[in-house]
Every structure is written in C-alpha cells, then in structure tokens.
C-alpha cells in the first residue's frame, strides 16, 4: 500500500444530466457482500422521482424526434464509453456482489454487447413492426411504432450492471426517456454508469437514475400521472399487484421481462396508423 489516501467517490443521483444529492438529504450504507462499508448512496424520495419525471418528460420530444440513426449512434457511443472503463466496473461489481473477477468481467462485457445490440435496433424496429395496410379505399395507410413517452424502470437486484442495461437500452432505442431505480444492494455500478452517460452525447434527461428502496419508490412511480409505462422486471413479486393497481389510474403499460429481446423495445412503443388520402 502506498501512503496516498484514496480520494473516494461520492455516489449521487443522475437527474437531467446533473448529479444532485437526494433532496431529502437521506442516504443509506452500501456494503460489500461481506458487510464492509463501501459508500453512502442516496435514498431517493418521491420528490426526487418527480424531478426526474419533469426532466424525462422535457427530454422526450427532442429524443423521440431525433433520427433513429442518431439514437443508434448515441447508444453505440455509450457502449464505447463503457468499454473504456471496463476495469472500474469490474471492481465495483466484485466489491458489491462478491463475485469473481472472471464473472464480473463477463457481466461488463455482456453489458457492452447488449448496448451495441440495441444500438443496431433503433433504425430497424420500424421496418419490422410497422406496416403498409391495403385498405379498401383510396388511401395510403401505414402503421409505424412510436415511443410511448416516459418509462419508469425497476432494475433487478442482480446482475446489478447487466440487469440495469438490459432494462434501459431497449426503452431508449425507440425514443422513450427513462427514470430507473437501480439495484438497492448494489447501486454503485449504476451511478458510475451515469458518468458513462454524461460523456456519451446523450441529451440531458433521457436517462435519469435514482437509488434507494423499491417499496418506497415503485408505488410513487406507479401512481405518477406523467409516467406512461413501467418495466417492473426488478420489482419483488409481492409488490406487483399493488403497482399494477396504482398504475391503472392512467392506464400505464406495465411489463416484466427476462434477458435481452426485441419485445423489450416493442412493449414500449405505440403503433400509430395514418390514413393519407390519395387523389389528384
């Protein structure tokens, strides 16, 4: 060991492209799998969520109207930035979950590949799930998928980085903006990932990251009237029913998934059908 005393990172939230602390001033201790103190993470409040929704809503119009090519390039850029910091993420995953270096490395590399995979989907999903409909009349009639708007995600506890990426990448590919609640026990990779996002040309507000407790934040996400949909893959099943009931107030689209699949993109798109008249 050198005499140098480490300058430790303060882990904060990521809202609208900035790194604020929780307005509540609350924190909780993040520990290693063996129980040693690692860091104080923010214990997000309902108010933090509301700030994040305002940022996500404001970012939606610009992000959803960016070209699919542009969104794809930005997702790829995120993968580039993550690749460059592989070592740091391996360390954080090992510290928080106690897995071996080989396993942690595998998770980070898979997270990078997942980003690259969804980057390539941005300009293809419309060709596959859109259609040109042969209506019985003089109309050019087509259906295209569009983003739903603001999507709230509950990241799974484990794997803390890969599960997080698997949740957000498909949602933003189609033009949605996101508020994601990171793994409660292992939030550090998610917050470090915010630093990746901050250097990836991703517009502020497209991805907003909260840390804290699922049973505290998820019900507020479900009842928030300006959130359009939820990915509750990381929600404990005992909360599912409560969240779905609360989400019915504005008919949120609420889904659960496993792994990497294009259904994670299509579940958060709306199909728009346009009837355009044909005539001279």
């Amino acid at each position: 060991m050198s005499d140098h005393i480490d300058v430790k990172k303060t882990y904060k939230l990521f809202i609208n492209g900035a790194f604020p602390r929780s307005e509540s001033g609350r924190t909780y201790e993040v520990k290693t799998s063996k129980g040693t103190f690692l860091a104080n993470a923010c214990l997000s409040s309902r108010k933090d969520l509301r700030e994040a929704v305002v940022a996500a809503r404001a970012a939606h119009n610009g992000w959803s109207k960016a070209t699919a090519y542009n969104r794809g390039q930005i997702l790829y850029r995120i993968a580039e930035m993550l690749q460059a910091r592989t070592g740091e993420f391996i360390q954080e995953i090992m510290m928080t979950t106690g897995v071996t270096k080989v396993k942690a490395e595998k998770e980070v590399l898979q997270a990078i590949d997942t980003l690259v995979w969804y980057a390539g989907w941005s300009d293809k999903i419309s060709s596959l799930t859109g259609s040109n409909n042969p209506v019985a009349g003089p109309f050019y009639n087509f259906t295209i998928p569009e983003s739903m708007g603001v999507v709230a995600c509950i990241a799974p506890e484990n794997p803390s980085l890969l599960g997080f990426i698997e949740s957000i990448a498909p949602v933003i590919t189609s033009g949605n903006t996101v508020i994601i609640l990171a793994s409660t026990k292992a939030p550090l990779p998610a917050i470090s990932f915010a630093e990746v996002l901050a250097t990836s040309d991703l517009p502020a507000g497209v991805i907003n990251i909260l840390t804290g407790k699922k049973d505290e934040i998820a019900p507020w996400m479900a009842s928030h009237m300006d959130i359009d949909a939820m990915d509750i893959s990381g929600l404990p099943s005992k909360l599912t029913s409560e969240v779905k009931v609360a989400g019915a107030e504005n008919l949120k689209r609420i889904h659960t998934f496993k792994g990497t699949t294009p259904h994670r993109i299509t579940a958060f798109t709306e199909s728009k059908t346009v009837w355009h008249t044909i005539g001279v």
Binding site: L128, T129, S131, N133, P134, V135, A136, G137, F139, N141, T143, M148, G149, D228, T240, S241, K244, V245, G247, A248, E249, N250, L251, R253, H255, H263, R264, T266, A267, F268, T269, E270, S271, K272, T273, V274, W275, H276, T277
Partner: protein
C-alpha cells in the same frame, strides 16, 4: 324552388324478433332466468326481453368455451379454422340486410349507416381474419404462435355487430374460444350472430354469448377460468378492469374513450373539410370513441369554416333511423341522452356559445339535435370530457405548433384529423400528434387491415391488421 324528401322507410319485415331471448352456450340457446327489456330508442317500443346472465350462466359459458378449446378448437388446424371464418363472413353478407334492419331497430343508428358501414365492415373483418388463421407463423410473431385460451369479450352499444366482429374474428383466427357479452341495450344482433355460428356449423362452445349488464361483465372479468379480457367501452370501466385483473395473469386489451382533435389548417379545401367535420362528429350520432369532437380551426379561416359548417348542418336530416334518407338517428338510451344533455348544459354554464340548426325532433324516443359550441377553450369540460353524442367543441389556433399543443392536451390519445392541402404539413402534423389513428383529409374511416387503438388513457393494444393478432397470442402482447 326547394325539394322535399318523401319518406323512404326500410321494411322491417326481413327480420323476426322473438319476444324473449336466452343465452348461447355450448352451441345451443339456453333459457335465461331473469330478463330485462331492450327497446327501440327511436320509438321507445319494447322490442324483446333479454336474459340477464348471473354467475351460473357465466360459469356455464366459460366451461363450454374451455371444453371447446381443449377438445376441439385447439386441435383444429388453421386451415380449417379459417374456413369456418370464411363461412361466417359469407353468411353475414347473405343476411346483411336482416342484420342492418335489426341493428338499426335496436341501436337507433340510421339504416344507411348500418347497411353501408356496420354490417359490410363486420363481414370484411371475418373475411380478413379467416385468411390469417393458417398463416400465423408468417406474421412475424414467432415461428409457432400459440393462442391464449378462453377470451372474455365485452363490447359496447355503439357498433354492436361490428365490435363483435372486431373481437370474435381475431380470437377465433388465432385459435382461442370466446365468451362474449354484448352491451345491455344492444344484444339483438349478437343473438342473431349466434344463429350464424350454428348455420356455419362452428363447433359447439367456440363462441358463447351471454347477455346482461355491467354485473355480467364483472363476472366475466373476474372469472378465474378466463385467460384474456378484451373490452371496448369507457375509460372509467377500462380502469376498473385494469385494477381487477392486476393480481391475475390475465392478458388484457382495452379500447376506450377519446376526445379526438380535428385540425383545420388555413390551406384546407373548405367544402371537403366541412364534410369531414360532419363525418367526424355526427356519424353514428357522435357515439364514436374516435369521434372528432374537438374542432381546431386556424384563426384566419375560422369564420368562413363555421359559416359553411352551419349551412351544412342545416341540411342534416335527423329522425326516423329506418328512413333511408336519415343522416342522424336516435340517441341509444335514456341514460346516454341524460349525459349529453348534462354536458351540453355544462358547456353553456362555462361560457361556450351553443348553436344547433332548427330541426323537428320526434316526440317519442331519445333525440339530441346536432350541436356546436364555439368560444371553447382547452380548460372547458366540453373540450376535455368525452360527450359521446352529436356535440362539437370548436377551438381556434394561430400557429401549427399551437394546434399540436392543443390537440395533444388531453389524457386521451385515440384519434385525430388533419385538414390541409400541403402534404408535408399534414404528415408533419400526423407525426406530432399523440394518437393511435390519424386521418388526413378524411375522418372515421375503418378497415380490417388497418390497426386501430389508442395511446395513453384511450387503451391498451390494437385491433385489426397484423398488429391486432398480438392481442390473442402468447408472448407478444407487448407489441
């Protein structure tokens, strides 16, 4: 010189209405226990007594649907399922006039609409989905798409047979069996459809029809033997259903309310636009979830459009739905009329200026004259709430951006219309609008190949087209 229209009544001799109906369960008509009257809303004549299904009848229908699913329908190839659907389509075409007359008597809509829109589209829906039944593996929904099982389907009173077709055709094509409940005020064409199923020799239990009110609907929604709920109706009831099924694994699609914006830009072809405004709000007495009930006029042409709209409204023929020249028929029920009257009064009290053409409304039955409110703002209740009647709220805007902001300022997102001669601008507007169906230079067009459904609080999922199949297949409901 002016011409008068001579009465041109459609004959009701083509249809026979029984004094009393039961349910259609397991391929047979089963007597009901309790009954309630169904009336002709244009005359208040009691047409028949409709059975009210309770727990026992719903249980029996679900059981029949499950048995048919397990023993017959899930083992019937797509090719054979398709042929049953083609048969149904053909029988509907053969008996189209009978269905049209019955629909108009029970619903109050003009015979011109039931004859030219509802029934032909219902047949077209079966014809379209018949062709899907043996091609599902090519639909891009997985290599071996699987049905969900038993579907509970609850439909509204505004397009009774057409909504039945929207529900039953895709469910059967994808290999599901169904328990369908028509709306309490319009059960007759669904019961006639049961006869069509018999004529088509559809295996017993594949289609079961139970009649009743909201209590019957709730029994279906909460039935543990049902795998999928498909509902068309109000947003309020849609939310109740969403809450009810939250603790279950039921798959759900909802087609709910709307407050469609109909945007008219300054370069619109005015006469054509006026026809489109009329179609948008007065088609089917405005009992249309995707009605263009908010007219957004660019300020510099508002006066001209309103002048021509009023002149056109003076020519609307309101009255006997059985008359072939009638444009606007009867309001479907006393309850719906009360709701329209109440919201129109709110429009008055909030400062909107009401205008209706002079028209003689029949003494008996439920009627509401075609009405427009000018001087409406986005904050008025008549600009926010679905009236579901022939009442148009008129707002104005100055810039295209303002039109989009006003159009999107609603919790609904079902439909919108855009009028203008500049193609790039109408497509730009279509892109900006947050709604599932956009008509440019047209309104209220429907086709089985064209997916229909809403954003936001207008519902979950799509009906029609390739997209509509996802509602009845496993693992693809997200699309």
């Amino acid at each position: 010189m002016s011409f008068e229209y001579a009465p041109a009544p459609e004959s009701r001799a083509i249809t026979t209405i029984k004094p009393k109906y039961g349910h259609f369960i397991g391929g047979k008509f089963v007597a009901g226990s309790k009954h309630f009257p169904t009336i002709n809303p244009a005359t208040e004549e009691v047409l028949s007594q409709i059975a009210l299904a309770g727990k026992a009848e719903v249980d029996a229908a679900v059981k029949a649907a499950r048995k048919a699913y397990t023993s017959t329908w899930s083992k019937t190839s797509g090719k054979e399922r398709g042929k049953y659907l083609f048969r149904i389509a053909r029988i509907l075409q053969e008996r189209a006039r009978e269905f049209a007359v019955l629909e108009t008597l029970d619903n109050g809509k003009p015979i011109r609409e039931s004859r030219d829109t509802d029934i032909p589209l219902a047949a077209a829906h079966f014809f379209y989905h018949a062709g899907w039944a043996d091609k599902l593996e090519y639909a891009g929904l997985g290599s071996s798409p699987k049905p969900l099982g038993v579907a509970g389907q609850i439909i509204p009173w505004n397009f009774p047979l057409l909504m039945l077709a929207w529900k039953v055709a895709p469910a059967l094509a994808t290999g599901n069996t169904v328990v369908l409940k028509p709306a309490e005020s319009t059960s007759l064409t669904a019961l006639l459809f049961a006869e069509v199923c018999q004529q088509a020799e559809l295996p017993a239990g594949v289609v079961n029809i139970v009649t009743g009110d909201g209590t019957t609907g709730a029994l279906i929604v909460n039935h543990p033997g049902i795998d999928k709920i498909a509902f068309t109706g109000s947003t309020e009831v849609g939310k109740i259903i969403a809450r009810s099924v939250a603790p279950t694994k039921k798959s759900v699609t909802l087609e709910l309310g709307g407050k469609g914006a109909n945007i008219v830009f300054e370069d619109a072809a005015v006469d054509e636009t006026v026809e489109g405004i009329i179609d948008g709000i007065f088609f089917n007495q405005g009992h249309v979830c995707c009605a263009g009930s908010r007219l957004l006029l660019q300020e510099n042409i508002a006066e001209e459009v309103l002048h021509k709209l009023k002149k056109r409204m003076e020519k609307i023929r309101v009255g006997d739905p059985m008359d072939k020249n009638t444009d606007v028929g009867a309001i479907n029920s006393k309850e719906q009329l009360a709701k329209i009257v109440e919201l129109a009064q709110v429009g008055d009290s909030e400062g909107g200026q009401r205008w209706s053409p002079a028209c003689d409304l029949p003494k008996k039955g439920y009627w509401f004259a075609p009405t427009i409110f000018t001087g409406v703002t986005s904050a008025h209740r008549i600009a926010r709430e679905e009236i579901f009647g022939p009442v148009l709220s008129v707002l104005t805007f100055r810039t295209p951006q303002e039109a989009i902001e006003k159009a999107n300022n609603t919790p609904f997102g079902l439909s919108a219309g855009v009028w203008g001669e500049k193609g790039s601008r109408t497509l730009w507007a279509a892109q900006q609008l947050r709604a599932g169906v956009i008509w440019t230079n047209s309104f209220n067009k429907f086709d089985p190949t064209s997916p229909f459904g809403g954003y936001k609080e207008s519902g979950w999922g799509r009906e029609g087209g390739r997209h509509g199949l996802t509602a009845y297949l496993k693992g693809v409901s997200g699309e």
